[in-house]
Point group: C2
Chain length 385, copies 2
Amino acid sequence: MDDKLMLMIPGPTPVPETALLAMAKHPIGHRSGDFSKIMAEVTENLKWLHQTKNDVLILASSGTGAMEAGIINFLSPGDRVLCGCNGKFGDRWAEVAEAYGLQVEKITAEWGQALDTEQFRQHLEADKDKQIKAVILTHSETSTGVLNDIETINSHVKAHGEALIIVDAVTSLGAVNLPIDELGLDVVGSGSQKGYMIPPGLAFVSVGAKAWTAYETAKLPRYYLDLGKYRKDGAKNTTPFTPPVNLFFALQATLRMMQAEGLENIFARHERLKNATRSAVKALGLPLLGPDTVASPAVTAVAPPPEVEAEKVRAIMKKRFDIALAGGQDHLKGKIFRIGHLGFVCDRDILSAIAALEASLGELGYKSFTPGAGVTAASKVLIES
Amino acid sequence: MDDKLMLMIPGPTPVPETALLAMAKHPIGHRSGDFSKIMAEVTENLKWLHQTKNDVLILASSGTGAMEAGIINFLSPGDRVLCGCNGKFGDRWAEVAEAYGLQVEKITAEWGQALDTEQFRQHLEADKDKQIKAVILTHSETSTGVLNDIETINSHVKAHGEALIIVDAVTSLGAVNLPIDELGLDVVGSGSQKGYMIPPGLAFVSVGAKAWTAYETAKLPRYYLDLGKYRKDGAKNTTPFTPPVNLFFALQATLRMMQAEGLENIFARHERLKNATRSAVKALGLPLLGPDTVASPAVTAVAPPPEVEAEKVRAIMKKRFDIALAGGQDHLKGKIFRIGHLGFVCDRDILSAIAALEASLGELGYKSFTPGAGVTAASKVLIES
């Protein structure tokens, strides 16, 4: 049905009407006092959301632009970096680092599993000469629905003392607790079409004092992604390059909504949506890609048996129920489907998605579950938590 | 008055309601067939607007991102480039080239004057060893309202034979005739908040065959701005990184409007708006920054005498008449004001702006004109052309 699409993908995520209408306002000049007021407000609220007093800089780019900025501003050609690779995005940051001539050492795990924190410890402890300049990793691996253990890996980075920690929090920021100042995370990148509840087009990088010190001597070339420019102009509530002003209107609206909901409630809601989704999928007899212990509150990856083709599930969900699910990426293409429950998603949305999933599985001839079992399991989690 | 702001700045430019409402639609997944259809349509229409069969690639960035991509994808460290510098943006492209370790030779002209095409001829003819790999210049210099003579400079580049021509058409594309294929322009960058009539957040780069050949051996590092990735995915009507889907909705709407108006009519309208504005400013006895012969159809820079403070004119225009004019940049700050007449601007807008300007000048005590002279002069041009 036209205009009835329900996004259950890990980005773009659903956008509240308040933000859509804010975005439809006529643009204003970005060098005006009115824009500076918005810039001041959203910057302040972004710091609240990031749980940090560090700079939180706003770029006109996708999350990849933010992560590239987070890497290239603080390193020099030939610098040694450790990259955690257990999904498409971990792999991407290794590619970025390689594109800029960094010496990349990958710590890999199977897609669907979390990174082994011990391997980080070993590599960092073995680096007596302090040649490792940065550890780059993805908090919530969107491609697999796995949440890596930032806290433990960060403790090993802190014990090393020299390396920066550069974190992709694209699908974790605003969904799961990531206390930047408490952990001392040096660089954290994210994107607007995720927990922020607005469309794609803005990206965010938080940068701490240690990273700014590294910036002073870092020699990789950059201009549009030069974070020093954003910091300098940000201090005057302006931007070095023309900002997407209408996305700022939307961001202003959703950050206010997030403040009204409160951080603890936002995190609890995502946890509840995740648990309900996983419980329902299990009740339907479908295998989950990764274990519960490392499940991301942003997205759940389902790896159905061969008789239930993932792409067919997605097609029926879209055609019959106007629900968009995500597919698998790279070698998982066609092998999994992913249910996003990130951002502007409420309990009802999970019930809708699971009910539609039951019906779609039925249409595909998959009968290995008691009709209603998924919805019942989800309801139980939602009501009881 | 709230919500009554009229943008007469050279970007963001006014946005039609059709585009604003398109943008307020709920986002769709960027990996969906529905998005690919939009991507196919806008790409086709962008080629029409660019008057080219070359690739026209769409980035999530400001115009600076597009120009940086246009430079760093086709050159290697140490390459010699000529940069035309007669305003803020020409200077910026020289800065980008220097940031990436290129050997930059600047051809400068006073702000408000056009670049001297003869200097390009001399430099290019003197380069017998064909060491100049690119000529980078700005077509419409937004900071001064000057249109550089691309046609002549391009003929010298073509006579050289080796160098690429990389053009900033940020405020000229969609305002003035720039036949990319007819001229054989290798790389042309632009931004959405200008002639495209949508808010900032998208940028465009057209890339021709000779530039793609240079790409094969170009060694400057890049990832987010790697145009090869956009070309590869663009061929499948998708994007390498999450695109700002709502801005695509708006772009789809305005490109249809532009097709309905027709290229010749669009160019004629901008020419008429420019002539009306300049004629009115002269009738008010105010000096224009640059000569008529090189005036940009996008923006008119006015350099008032000391007794008429440019910033005061802007303040009154804003406060009393809800019209935003642009100020001067860098060393022209406080010395000029700029009237944008780019994109979604009609004849009535010029009359409104000039009438408000007359009233504002009156309020400032400037009396060196016959009341009504500006409006009369503008009307005459608008009616007669």
